[in-house]
């Protein structure tokens, strides 16, 4: 039984784990881009209260907020192919990206909706008064203003998503969590392995927190 912390082992592990960081970040970035597209669409449908679609979106949000991400990933990867053969060719990476994006879009849609509702209604009236259509107003005036309000919380979701990609190892995606798990299992240095991966997550999150700060400062200039 080894009791002292093998610091050297941790440092040896870093470069090895970092090789797989691209997989982790790939899932997070793809997942976030998709989640943005989904959530903006859902938010607009809910703001305009488009019949049927708005109810479907409400159901979607209820389900994806009401069940754990892990359960959703399992349903998507292990469950769906049985009933929908189209999902059989789905690889674990793609399944994780889809699962993450659906899950996070449910939360992000509510943030974006709140941000849109927060734009003063006089802005929409001003658009209409000069002959713009509602969708032109959305694109040119309302969404740009809402994005400024929504950015801090969306960045928080992105950071949360980076950490949530660690669940993808349960689907068999070889990302940093999976690699550290395998290393731990072969070396029996569990604490060191997980400490190493924890530091990597932490460093990445600190990096993006800095980006968030700069982005907010940029968005808050002038007006």
């Amino acid at each position: 039984m080894q009791t002292s912390l093998d610091i050297q082992y941790i440092f040896e592990l870093f470069p090895y784990l970092l090789k797989y960081l691209s997989v982790t970040m790939g899932m997070a970035i793809w997942g976030f881009v998709l989640a943005l597209i989904f959530s903006v669409t859902i938010a607009i449908i809910r703001v305009f209260k488009i019949t049927v679609l708005a109810q479907l979106c409400a159901l979607f949000i209820s389900f994806f907020r009401g069940t754990p991400l892990l359960v959703q990933l399992f349903l998507l990867y292990y469950g769906l192919p049985r009933f929908f053969p189209i999902f059989e060719g789905l690889d674990a990476f793609t399944a994780a990206v889809i699962g993450l994006s659906l899950h996070f879009s449910a939360y992000m849609a509510e943030s974006i909706r709140a941000a849109i509702m927060g734009v003063d209604k006089s802005q929409m009236e001003a658009c209409l008064s000069i002959g713009m259509t509602r969708s032109q107003a959305m694109r040119r005036i309302i969404l740009p203003q809402a994005s400024r309000v929504a950015t801090p919380s969306l960045m928080n979701y992105f950071i949360d998503m980076i950490k949530s990609t660690s669940l993808a190892f349960t689907l068999g995606v070889t990302e940093i969590m999976a690699v550290s798990q395998m290393e731990a299992a072969s070396s029996f240095k569990f604490f060191e392995s997980f400490l190493a991966v924890a530091f990597i997550y932490w460093a990445v999150v600190v990096f993006f927190t800095r980006i968030q700060y700069l982005l907010e400062r940029y968005l808050n200039r002038a007006y």
């Binding site: 003063d120 006089s122 009236e125 001003a126 008064s129 002959g131 713009m132 259509t133 040119r140």
Partner: protein, 245 residues
Amino acid sequence: MIKVTNLTKKFAENAVLKGIDFEVSLGEIVVIIGPSGTGKSTLLRCLNYLETPTSGCIEIGGIKVDSRSATRTQINKLRKQSSFVFQNYSLFANKTALQNVAEGLITVWKMPKPQALQLAKDKLIQVGLRDKLDQYPSQLSGGQQQRVGIARAMVAKGEVILFDEPTSALDPEWVDEVLAVMKTLAKQQQTMIVVTHEMQFAREVADRVIFMEGGYIVEQGTPQQIFENPQHKRTQAFVKRALKY
């Protein structure tokens, strides 16, 4: 030409407009006066379809919309016939003064961007904002913002500009500069409908004054008729009070 027929507006059970009929001809300057809460602003907002009338017909520049059968396309066409100057300016917060004025030209009228910006610049110079082109609304005073609002309404190619209490939210020191811009517009024969409490402006500039109360047009006539020789008791009382200040 503008023609409003039997226009009514109810908010829930509260009837704000109870049957409004009037016409405005091209180049005419009409000022609507009356106590607060009598439907003046609602009437103006209905003309721009910012409020949907409960019933009635609105015709501006050959586009006729009956509220009962109005389609989205018709409403959009009607809106393009008028532009609106808001009490609280309502400038696009994420756009500079120049972009505020050019926005409609680019988005609605599909004018090439350099041309739109040039025209916007000309209008802003006309309203005396040559050195404020690239400022955001939050960097401008109330009077400057409202002048941008007027410039934005001027380029909208509509037949009429609707002014909804354009000076009510302004500090007294900024009122005159906004009224001066409106007077210039009036001299250029721009058709205007103005809701205001500025009686002096109404007297000097209006071709016709409409007195509204309780959801009805009570009386209308030349400024002289309304201010010096009002026929209706309600008008007499209002004018007497209003001219005291």
